[in-house]
């Protein structure tokens, strides 16, 4: 946020915004496609219980690339980052508490 209270609040963002040139988009696409292949490779391999971790890791990287380049978080302002982070954080909180219950319910008491 602006520290100059005289300034109109708007105007500052979106000035540097520019649509991604085609070449860059293609690069992003190939990276994503490569990651997708990797995800399939991991998925078709016989890693046992680490498989789920590995393939989720690949998916997470993929999602990050997608968000950063395709969804233009790269050139987004702080507020947008905050919004994106908040959504992830709150989802995390939901997972944290609910899964805690599922993982600890059977445990005895103190």
């Amino acid at each position: 946020m602006s520290h100059n209270p005289h300034a109109a609040v708007h105007e500052e963002e979106s000035v540097h915004h520019e649509a991604t040139p085609d070449a860059k988009s293609f690069v992003t696409f190939f990276v994503l496609a490569g990651l997708a292949l990797l995800a399939l490779f991991v998925g078709f391999s016989d890693l046992g219980s680490t498989k789920v971790v590995a393939s989720l890791a690949v998916s997470t990287v993929q999602a990050c690339v997608l968000a950063y380049f395709f969804m233009d978080l790269r050139s987004a302002d702080k507020l947008t980052w905050l919004v994106a982070a908040a959504s992830i954080f709150w989802t995390f909180l939901m997972f944290l508490f609910i899964l805690t219950d599922f993982l600890t319910r059977h445990l005895g008491v103190l």
Partner: protein
Amino acid sequence: MFAFMDTPLLPEQASEFSKEYDVLFWYITGVSALGASVVYALLIYCCFAFAKKDGVAPKRILGSNKLEFLWTIIPLMFFLSFFVWGVRQYDYAINPPAETADREYTVVGKQWMWKVQHPTGHREINEITLQEGVAVKITGTSEDVIHDFGIPAFRSKFDVIPGRYTTAWYKPIKVGSYHLFCDQYCGQGHSQMVGKVHVLSQENYAAWLEGLYRVRDGKNPVDGSPAWEGRKLFLKLQCINCHNRESESRAPTLEGIHNTKRALLGGSTVVADDTYLRNSIRNPMLQVRDGWKPIMPAYTRAQVTEEELLNVISYLKSLKPGDLPSRSEMSPAPVGAPNIPDPAVPPVPAPTTGGTR
């Protein structure tokens, strides 16, 4: 207009936990009253002291970090004290102590009744009878939807959940009968899913286990007690053909017989103690009642084993006026009658998910 007049002010303290509970409850009440009083006092003071007066301008006050700090930290301290105390109490209330290990009751909730099974094999419906001073553990589950087994006088409550077991425990300390409520909404009959908790003194409880003590009138001996078994035999052995509610002309009614004086043929009297009852069955001719024909057959060991005989005697001892079954009742009473086991009730489902708390 009001049919009852003893409106209670405070709930009964009928379990050990209820006493401790109330201490915490009143502690929180005290702190809350204090906190609210501070707020109200300030409010009243300001409303009077600073009501608009001509010529008096309002002050320009922006705030005070010191005060903000104070009224963050002081309530927080109190709130945390609630928390700590509350956790200890919760811990105490949901962890059955070791002494309850062999006194585990099972309750099964079902739209809309409670079925209780005692460790002794006694079974009750919508009622649970406990002994004063003896801690018991309750394990609950449900056959259909979620219910909640709540006993206000014990300050106890826990949800019973289909497919899972949950537990609670109590140590009743006061003889009496208390409300048992279903506290989790479970459909149309939710408010009918109520019953009673009976806390009995040690003697009465022992008698109750026998089937001799009734927690209320008009009730058969408790399911699972010797007397209850005796009742079944009474029907099975056809005693009911002669001894029944309908008429006394054929054979004497046996209600309230225990320890009363009986007039015998020949003018003598005898006290109907256990031996008398026993003789009356094994060898009725020995002591025939005045006014009746000696038509009662003798029941030999082949017909009634010694064990069964004990149960029958227990039943006879438990008979109160109005208890004797009617002649038509050759088989167990219809489903739904109090204390009759429900043949339609399937066994308790095994837990499929989660664990026990």
